[in-house]
Amino acid sequence: MTLIECRGLTREYRKGDNIIRPLDDLDLDVPRGDFLALMGPSGSGKTTLLNLIAGIDSPTRGSLVIDGTNLANLSRNKLAAWRSENVGYVFQLYNLVPVLTAYENVELPLLLHPLDRRQRHERVRTALERVGISDRSDHFPRQLSGGQEQRVAIARAIVTDPAILVADEPTGDLDKPSAHAVMSLLKELNEELGKTIIMVTHDPKTTDWATRTLHLDKGRLAETGASLTHEQEALA
């Protein structure tokens, strides 16, 4: 069952007199529960695609329908509300708020939901336990290792129980053991909780954790030289 449907998805930027097109007329289907790795050289459009799916950027042309909602039609505030309910974002540099504890960082997205303090506490506790960092809930980010910070960031991404997790090079700043632990955690979330994960990576080893890998080049899918829909993939 398709969760994400891109048709003719194009993103253009104007830089002086030039138009840059990091994503060019892309067609793509992502089924619910997929763990999709996006690879490609710098400037290939993988992060642009990730940002569009995360709802933090808007396409110049084409449609991007996620679970029946065409993101291109949403106003800025509605898109913000949509993000808070449907997407968890895992950043390469964690992006934890340094003045908040691990617990408070994980609680942040829940403040956007109509939950009372007790309900929030329950969800934060569950998320921290899920990522195996509940014993560090009172620690500030500076008191955590990189791997622990990324675990907190993943807890923050899943605490609202979104259907989609987007991860932008989630292991790019970690040593090997920490990277392995983070990828293992993402795989668990994919298999046990059924989260659909879209991950951008430069590291071919991390793609082993994904169910499939797509290569982008110059804004297009590289394998076929054109875009690839789920149906086309199935036929192939």
Binding site: A80, Y89, L100, L112
Partner: protein, 392 residues
């Protein structure tokens, strides 16, 4: 649509990110508040002193025609007090004493001693005992009324400031020199928020002799009871031979206050200009504070917080810092400025940091915090989320 806000805790803790920036915010807003309190206290103190209301409303000054703008220039016959007391029906009276105070007002130089060659500027008032009835604001707080013929003086609380002398130099028992002899200070009086508080009082006859005007007065001040101002005015106008004019004491000082209006406006304008400098300083501090947080702000937007929620939180942070600075400034203002005596040509007055001035100061500090936050916050949010997330 209800805006889901970021917790205040986040704004509060962000203040601790940079001690230098926090100190700059606190110092900036407390200085702005101090400045507003100083200028407001100055204007308010002068206003209170010159627009005396309590006892003045019922008092009418009878002085020489054409001297309405300066009682020191007035010269009326020495018998006017008796004539006025007998001619104006309905003046206040107690135990057979009619409230009609003959007075001489003179700006005279005094010296510390015969050996001193420095003239000290002073305002003297020659009075009789009845002056204490007509001016109920005056309360003798130490010593007694000066007695006629004994070269005695009584000084108001702010007289030392007016003279430019330390307080212990005008204590009871000390002497001041004028009219070729020493005068002993035998009393201190308090007349808060009036020009009298900076004056030197002495017996009327002594000042008449010292100023060579034995047959004249500066004015007679009467207190109305059943009589109205029209009665006193009619008396002044009907005695053409005495060349008198009547003016309410409150109106007399109000006209002097109007004279100082441009000075007050200048002080307020200066305060506003310097406070604007405080706003610019606040802007600078907040630009630096928010610029270091662009990526974090991008992350908050990625989570789903709206720009409005983030602007509100950043503003809370700035206003909270400004509020802390304002409290520090207000406390310093109350401790350091309230009651400080300032000299001016009419005598001296005390800076008055009262509730309206305090409120204006604290509000000023908060406004600085608010205005200082909005442009940096908006600038911080101008970047697209994708760009903000890439910043370092």
């Amino acid at each position: 649509m209800r805006v889901r806000q970021l917790p205040f805790n986040y704004a509060f803790r962000n203040l601790g990110r940079s001690g230098v920036r926090l100190a700059a915010s606190l110092v900036g807003s407390s200085l702005v508040v101090l400045l507003i309190l100083a200028s407001g206290g100055f204007v308010r103190g002068m206003q209170l002193t010159l627009t005396q209301d309590a006892g003045m409303q019922d008092n009418v000054m009878i002085l020489g025609a054409g001297s309405e703008e300066g009682v020191e220039r007035s010269q009326i016959d020495a018998s006017v007090d008796g004539i006025a007391a007998a001619s104006i029906p309905g003046l206040k009276e107690r135990a057979g004493v009619i409230y009609a105070s003959p007075e001489i007002h003179a700006a005279l130089p005094v010296r510390e001693s015969a050996e001193s060659d420095e003239d000290l500027s002073s305002v003297m008032r020659g009075v009789r005992e009845v002056a204490l009835l007509v001016h109920p604001e005056v309360e003798i707080v130490e010593g007694h009324l000066p007695r006629a013929g004994r070269d005695e003086l009584m000084l108001g609380e702010l007289a030392a400031t007016r003279l430019g002398l330390p307080e212990d130099r005008v204590a009871i028992g000390q002497t001041l020199y004028f009219d070729d002899r020493d005068w002993t200070i035998v009393g201190r009086f308090s007349a808060p928020n009036t020009v009298m508080n900076a004056e030197i009082w002495l017996p009327l006859t002594d000042l008449q002799i010292a100023t060579n005007r034995e047959a004249s007065l500066s004015c007679v001040i009467v207190t109305l009871d059943r009589a109205t101002f029209a009665d006193a005015d009619l008396f002044a106008k009907s005695r053409l031979d005495l060349e008198l004019t009547a003016i309410r004491e409150s109106d007399y000082y109000a006209s002097i206050a109007a004279f100082y209006g441009p000075i007050r406006i200048m002080i307020i304008v200066t305060a506003v200009l310097i406070a604007s400098g405080g706003v610019l300083g606040g802007l600078n501090t907040m630009y630096a504070a928010f610029a270091a947080r662009v990526r974090e702000v991008g992350m908050l937007q990625a989570l789903g917080f709206t720009r409005l929620a983030i602007v509100m939180n950043l503003t809370e942070e700035s206003v909270f810092a400004a509020a802390c600075g304002a409290l520090i400034g207000a406390t310093l203002g109350l401790v350091l400025l309230d009651g400080v005596a300032v000299r001016f040509s009419m005598g001296a007055f005390a800076l008055a940091i009262d509730a309206p001035v305090l409120l204006a100061g604290i509000l000023g500090g908060l406004v600085v915090g608010f205005i200082g936050a909005i442009p940096p916050a908006v600038r911080c949010l101008r970047l697209p989320i994708t760009e903000a997330l890439k910043s370092h």
